[in-house]
Symmetry: D2
Subunit: 346 residues, 4 copies
C-alpha cells in the first residue's frame, strides 16, 4: 500500500507505447527529432500560443531551475512561499542555476496572498544597489500542500507582479491535476492568468521522466537552449523525451491520468473522513492528502504495510499528532485504496 509519492508508479500505457514506437531506426539527436516537432506543435495548440518556445528536460528540478535562471539575474530576489519546492526540495538548484539569486519568502505556507506579495516586493527597495533586486514571482500549481490557486487568485497575484514589472513563473509539476480540478483550459490557467513561463509536468502523471518548459514569449529561447546544454540537460537521444510527451498528450492520456489520480485521492479522502482521530491539514483539492494522526495510529498503519510520507519520527509519544502525506496517481486501483481504508478504519 504505497502512497509515498506520485513518482513511484509505472508509465501510463499511452506513454509506454509511444516510447516503444519511437525506439526504432534513425532519429537526429539533441532535439532535432521529428517527434519533437510534433510535440512542440501539440503544446502550442493546447496552450493556444503558436509562437511559444517549448523545450523538454527530464526532471522537474531541471525545468524549474533552468526556466527561473532564464528569467532571473544573480542579484534578483525570486518571490515564492516558504514551502515552495524550489525552496525546500531542490538542494539549491535555483541558487546554482541563477548564479546566486535569493528566494525571498512570501507568506508562511504553501500559498501567498496579493498583500503578502506586495509587502515582500516593497521590502526590497528599487534602485538600491545594496539589496536584492526585485525578480520573478514563482507559484506552484497544485501547491506543495495539495491545494489550488483559483484562477482569480492567480490573476490577483500576477497582477501585483505586473504592477512592478516582474515576470511570473509557474511550477506545474502537477499542472494537469490542477487543470482538471479547476476544469479550465491550459491557457486560462497560465498566460490568460498572467503567467509568463511554465514547467509543465509529465513525470508525476504517468511519464518516466519528462517535463516541458514553456515560454509564452519566445524571446528567451536561445538563452534557454544554452542554459540547458550548459546544465547538461540536453539529451542526445532526445527522441526518448519527445516520445514520452507525445504519448502523454495524445488522445487525452494526460487528462485521463490526472482525473484518475484526483479521483483516487477523493475516494481516499472520503473514506478517511470516518477515521477517528484523523484531521485534514488542508482540504484535499487534487491528488495529495495532508492529515494528522496520533503517532500510535501511524505505528499501526505502517505496521500494517502502509507506506507514506511522515513529518516526524515513528517512535515517540504515542499521543502526539504527526502529519502524513498521501499521494495518489492514475495507476492506483480502487482495491488498493479500499484495502488501505480497511486498515485505517480497522
Amino acid at each position: 500500500m504505497f502512497f509515498a509519492s506520485d513518482n513511484t508508479g509505472p508509465m501510463h500505457p499511452a506513454v509506454a507505447q509511444a516510447m516503444v514506437a519511437a525506439d526504432a531506426g534513425y532519429h537526429p539527436s539533441y532535439g532535432a527529432d521529428p517527434i519533437m516537432d510534433g510535440v512542440r506543435a501539440q503544446i502550442r495548440e493546447i496552450f493556444e500560443v503558436p509562437e511559444a518556445a517549448v523545450y523538454l528536460v527530464a526532471t522537474g528540478t531541471a525545468a524549474n531551475a533552468l526556466a527561473l535562471a532564464t528569467m532571473t539575474k544573480p542579484w534578483d530576489a525570486v518571490f515564492c512561499t516558504p514551502l515552495a519546492h524550489i525552496n525546500v526540495d531542490e538542494c539549491h538548484a535555483p541558487e546554482f542555476y541563477t548564479g546566486g539569486a535569493k528566494l525571498s519568502l512570501v507568506g508562511d505556507g504553501d500559498k501567498m496572498t496579493p498583500d503578502q506579495l506586495r509587502a515582500r516586493i516593497e521590502g526590497w527597495t528599487k534602485g538600491d544597489v545594496h539589496t536584492s533586486q526585485r525578480g520573478p514571482l514563482q507559484l506552484t500549481q497544485v501547491t506543495e500542500m495539495g491545494r489550488l490557486y483559483q484562477l482569480e487568485e492567480l490573476r490577483a497575484l500576477t497582477g501585483v507582479a505586473r504592477e512592478y514589472g516582474l515576470p511570473t513563473f509557474m511550477d506545474g509539476a502537477r499542472f494537469t491535476n490542477a487543470l482538471v480540478a479547476l476544469d479550465c483550459t491550459p491557457a486560462e490557467m497560465t498566460w490568460k492568468a498572467g503567467i509568463d513561463a511554465l514547467s509543465f509536468g509529465g513525470t508525476k502523471n504517468g511519464c518516466a521522466g519528462v517535463e516541458a518548459v514553456i515560454f509564452f514569449d519566445p524571446a528567451h529561447a536561445w538563452e534557454f537552449e544554452l542554459r540547458r546544454k550548459r546544465g547538461a540537460h540536453l539529451f542526445s537521444k532526445h527522441r526518448y523525451l519527445s516520445a514520452q510527451m507525445q504519448g502523454y498528450l495524445t488522445d487525452g492520456a494526460w487528462l485521463e491520468a490526472a482525473r484518475a489520480a484526483n479521483a483516487n485521492a477523493a475516494r481516499l479522502a472520503a473514506g478517511l473522513r470516518d477515521m477517528p482521530g484523523l484531521e485534514f491539514v488542508e482540504e484535499p483539492e487534487a491528488n495529495m492528502i495532508f492529515a494528522t494522526l496520533p503517532r500510535r495510529e501511524h505505528q499501526r498503519l505502517q505496521a500494517g504495510g502502509a507506506v507514506y510520507g511522515l513529518w516526524g519520527d515513528l517512535e515517540g509519544d504515542p499521543d502526539e499528532r504527526i502529519m502524513m502525506r498521501l499521494v495518489t496517481d492514475w495507476s492506483m486501483t480502487h482495491e488498493l485504496i479500499d484495502d488501505f481504508l480497511a486498515l485505517a478504519l480497522g
Copy 2:
C-alpha cells in the same frame, strides 16, 4: 545512410526489454529502487572494486561535469587535450559545475604525451596564489578522434599525475568500444591503470540515455549525491535509469554491442581504403572514422543520401579536402554499410 553519430540509433533489445520489465508496479524513487541495488553490485563486480561508489545520470555531459566538479576546486586547472569533449562540446558545463575551474590544454590534438602533461603541470607554479592550482587529469577513452590510449600510455599519463598528487578522471562515453578493442578488463583500463573516477557510457552503445559515474574510492560519495541533486540530475523515477543499465550489463549486451559497432567501423574502413582520394586522418581504432576527401566527393556522397559529420561547408572549392566523421553503432547492418561503400566507390 546515417553515420552522423552513435546517438541516433535505437536501444539495444536487451536495454529495451529491461525498460519494459521495469515498467510495472511500485518502485521507491530517487535511486532507492531495487534495480539500482543490482546495478551497483554488477558494476562493482565488473570493475572488481567492492566498495566503489556508483551513480547514474542521463547524459554524458552530466556524468563528466558532476564527476569532475567533485574532484576539482574552483581555482584548479583541469588538464585535458584541446579536442576534449569537455573543452569543445559541453557549452561550459565543466566550468559551470566546478564553479569556474579552467581547462588547461595539453598537446594539440586528441591525445597527450607524458612530457606534454608534465610541462603543462609545471606551467602552474605550486603554491602561487595568483595562478591556477594544479587539478585533475582528464583523459577520454576512446578519444574524440576515434583513437585509443594503450594501457601503457594510460599508466604513463596517470603516473605523471600521481607524481604531482593529482587525481585522474576518464571520460568513457565510448568506454566499451575501447575495452573490446584493447581486449582487456575494465579494471585494467581504469584503476589498475591509475584512474580514480570514470564516466561509464551507456547512451552511445545501446541505451536511451544513461551513464554511470564510478568513483573507485567512495570518499566522494555524499558530495557527489549533493552535486547531482543540486544539478537537477537526480531522477525521481530512477528505475528507468537503473533498468537501462541493468539491461546493458546483463548477459554481455554491452560487450556485444561495442564489438558490433567496432566491427561495423572496421568493415566500413576496410572498404573506404579503396576509395580514390580518401585519406584517413587517424587510423580508425574503435567505432569512428575520420577521413578527408575533396569537397566534390562529399557533395556526391551527400547527394546520394549519406549523412555524416563534415568539418567545413559543403559549398566551395571542389578540390579542397575537407574532413568527415563516420560513426557506427551496433544497430547498423552490413547491408547499410555496403550500400554506403557502393555509393562511395561508385
Copy 3:
C-alpha cells in the same frame, strides 16, 4: 549634522599617521610587507590565539563573504537573522562567494534565540539530499539594530550550533563598539564564546577601508588565500591595508575610538529622551540609535540640516511615525551633538 553612518567620517589620526609612515620606500607586495607581520602578531596577541590565521581585506562585505564562503558549502544553509547585513545589504555577495548557499532566516529581527535557532536547524533534515544542508551560524555583534549579544547569549547560541557540529561566524563590523560596551576581552567575545571566525572591523571605527578576517583555527588559511585572490581582494600594495590596521591597533586607538563613538551615542540618546514624540525602537547599546517620530518631526529636522537614515518617504501623512537611524563615530564633537539636540528639542 551628519548622523547617516559611521562610514562618512575621516580616519582616526593614529590610522592616518600610520598610512603616512608606511608611504615610503620599498615594500614587498601581496601581504608580504613587514607591517603585516606586525599586524598579524598584534591580532594574535589581542585575541590570545598564537596560531590564528589573520588576513586583511578592504570592505566589510568582502570580509563577511570570503570568510563565510570558506566555511560553507554551496548546498549549505547559513543561519542568520532576517535583518543580518549579509541578508539585506550585500547584494547577494554571500550567495555569490559561496556558490549558491541559502541564508536560512532565524527569528524576525536583529537577534535570535537558541530556541529559534534550534527550530530552524531542525527544519533542514540531516542527510536528506533534497534540502539545504546545515551550515554555519552567523551572528552580528553589534547587531544591525544597535543591540548587543551578551556573552551568555553568544555562548548559548554557539552551543546550539556546536550540538549540531556547525561552525560559527561573527560579523564584527562594529566589533570594538560591542567590546567596549560589554567591557570584556576580545577572546571572551569570540572563541571563548564559541566563535570560530570573525570579521574584525576597522572601517567604521576610524580606518579608511580595512577589515581583518580571523580564523581561530588556521586549517582554512590556504583556502581563504585562494578565495581572496580569486575574489580580487588581494591588494598588491598591501602595505596600505596593513598600515591602517597597525595604526588602529597601536596604543589603543581602536578602543579609544569605539569608546568615543559609544559615548557620543549615549549623549545623543540621553538628550533625545526629552524629545516629545520620540520613541526608541530598541534601547541603544552601542553607537546606533533607532527611534520613531511623526513624519512632521523628520521634516522639521531634515529642513534644519540633519542628515540620517530614514525608513520611509519624507513626504506623506505628517502624523505617521517613521523610523530613523542615527549613527555616531569617534570624530563627532559634543558641539555637533548638542547642536542636533538643540534642533530636535528646539
Copy 4:
C-alpha cells in the same frame, strides 16, 4: 635594489597629498562623495567621452574581472593571449565573475595578430549550442612582456572583433606607460581604436590601490554597479579611492609618473646592453625589461642585493640561461639604477 614590480614603491606625492586633503570632515559614502564627481568629470574630459560610465575599484584584478563579467555571458569565450594577466595571474577571477566563461587563447605569447584572432573566433561555430559562444576580445596594453600594441595593431584587432559583432576590453594596468610611449591621446588608444571598455590603472603608477573602469558606452552602468557591490568591491569610505584618482589626474601627475618610469627602464636597458651574456627577450618598450642571463649571473646579482622576478630556480646548472623581469616605477632614482648597473657590469 628592488626591481621586482611596480607595486612595491610608495605613492606619488600628488596622490599622497590628495589622500591627506580628503581625510577631513564628512563625505557621503559608496561613491556619492563630491571628489568622485570631479574624478568622473576629469576622466570623461581626458577620454573625450562626456557620457562615459566611470567607476573606481581598488585592485586591477577587480577592474578586469568586473568589467569583463559585464560584457560576457557564462557560455562565452573571451579571446586573449596565453600570457594575459587574466589567464595566468588572477586565480580564476575572470571565470568566477563571469560565472564560468572560458578564456580562449590566441597566439602563443603576449601579443596576438588579426589572423590568429580570426582563426580562434572561427574555431567556435556560431549558433552551435554545444560549444563556447563568441565573446569579447581582451587586449593588455602595455602587454605582460612589456611590449606595446601600436595604434594600427589595435585597430586591426578590434576590427576583426567588430566584424563578428564582439565587444572589446583593454586591460590598462600600465595604460599610462603605454600612452606616453606611444605619444598619443587616451581617446586614440581606446575608443578611437575600437576599444569599448577599459581598466585604467592607477596602482602601478603611483597610487596606493585604485583602478578606474571606464565604459565608453554607458549602457552597462547599472549592471556594473550591481556586480561591483555583489563582488564586495564597493567602498563605503569611497572618498579614499576618489582622492587617489583625483591626485593622480591633477596637474599631469599620471603622465609625469609614467614618463619617469619609462625613462628609468630605458636608462636601465641602455646600461644592460653592455652586460656580457645578457639577451633581451623582447625589446623593452615601456617600464619592463625581460632578459635572459646564465644562472651564474643571476646568482651573482642576487647575492649582490638585486631583487627581481626570475623564471626558474636560482640553483642549478650555472650555464643555463634563465629569464629575469626588471620593472621600474617613477620612484626609482638614477642612483639606484646606476648602482644596479655597476653591479651587473661589475
